[in-house]
């Protein structure tokens, strides 16, 4: 089976053009549309449905920076999805804890301006981590030093969790 990058005709790197990705996704889905297979028997129809599901999985994975990074690590033999391993990086985790405490305080104070400023600051932190990962993965560094980069990708999931919670807090303040 082709890997997701091959399926989308892409070279295996982290940086990609989201608009082009979506266009390829639409073209691929069109090519396996059930209408094309209406007269071709059950076998061909079933294969088209499978292909369509695979194209969908590939798109969801490639679209998300976190899932894309996890997938690129999977291609070099490290499975992060659903892993039970814990991250032990006291500095990073202490920072995470402080940020979550800060979010709790902001929720209590219901200060929407401060919450937005916090949201921007954390988004910037996440973007910085993401761009480190992007340049390293584009350069193929994750193949040489898998464990270091697996940890950086693990950190990304903590940032995502924090940002999800910030978004929920913003929704709860209802604006």
């Amino acid at each position: 089976m082709n890997n997701y990058f091959q399926l989308f005709g892409l070279t295996e790197q982290f940086s990609l053009d989201q608009a082009a990705l979506m266009q390829t996704y639409r073209d691929l889905q069109k090519s396996v549309h059930p209408d094309h297979y209406a007269n071709q028997g059950q076998q061909a129809q079933r294969l088209a449905v499978q292909k369509s599901a695979q194209i969908n999985d590939a798109y969801q994975t490639l679209k998300s920076p976190l899932l894309r990074a996890q997938y690129m690590l999977l291609l070099v033999g490290v499975e992060l999805k659903g892993e039970q391993q814990t991250l032990r990086d006291p500095m990073f985790l202490m920072q995470q804890m402080e940020w979550r405490e800060e979010l709790d305080d902001l929720k209590r104070s219901q200060d929407i301006d401060k919450l937005e400023a916090f949201s921007d600051a954390i988004s910037a932190e996440r973007a910085a981590l993401n761009s480190n990962i992007a340049s390293a993965f584009d350069a193929g560094e994750h193949r040489q030093d898998v464990q270091t980069w697996a940890n950086e990708v693990r950190k990304l999931s903590f940032m995502d969790k924090l940002l999800t919670e910030i978004a929920q807090a913003e929704d709860a303040l209802d604006y």
Binding site: T86, M94, F158, K161
Partner: protein
């Protein structure tokens, strides 16, 4: 998903929430995180001169099972030696709290928090 009564009890009345001064030489701090769910756990042990854990506190940002696992561990480790505490297995925590398979990682987080705290303590001792 339904939580067991014990999880709910620890979640609603968490034991030993709080912090010690992490710079105190008698205090061991274990920081761990679960990438699968983004939960973060801090476990602190106060250790006396005989190497016995006299007090424990935790702070966890995570789901009910993660909070219950860390709360339970702070109760269990009190009065234990470091070696006894290090021998505590996640399966014992998961069994006590009747954690479903998808929440096993919460008990692993609590076990690893003890181990990380003990490592921190050992690194603080003069060689």
């Amino acid at each position: 998903m339904a939580y067991s009564e014990k999880v709910i009890d620890h979640y609603e009345n968490p034991r030993n929430v709080g912090s010690f001064d992490k710079n105190d030489p008698q205090v061991a701090t274990g920081m761990v995180g679960a990438p699968a769910c983004g939960d973060v756990m801090k476990l602190q042990l106060k250790i006396d001169d005989e190497g016995v854990i006299e007090d424990a506190k935790f702070k966890t940002y995570g789901c009910g099972s993660a909070i219950a696992s860390s709360s339970l561990v702070t109760e269990w480790v009190k009065g234990k030696t470091l070696d006894e505490a290090a021998a505590l297995k996640n399966t014992t925590i998961a069994e006590e709290l009747a954690l479903p398979p998808v929440k096993i990682h919460c008990s692993i987080l609590a076990e690893d928090a003890i181990k990380a705290a003990i490592e921190d303590y050992k690194s603080k001792q003069p060689a």
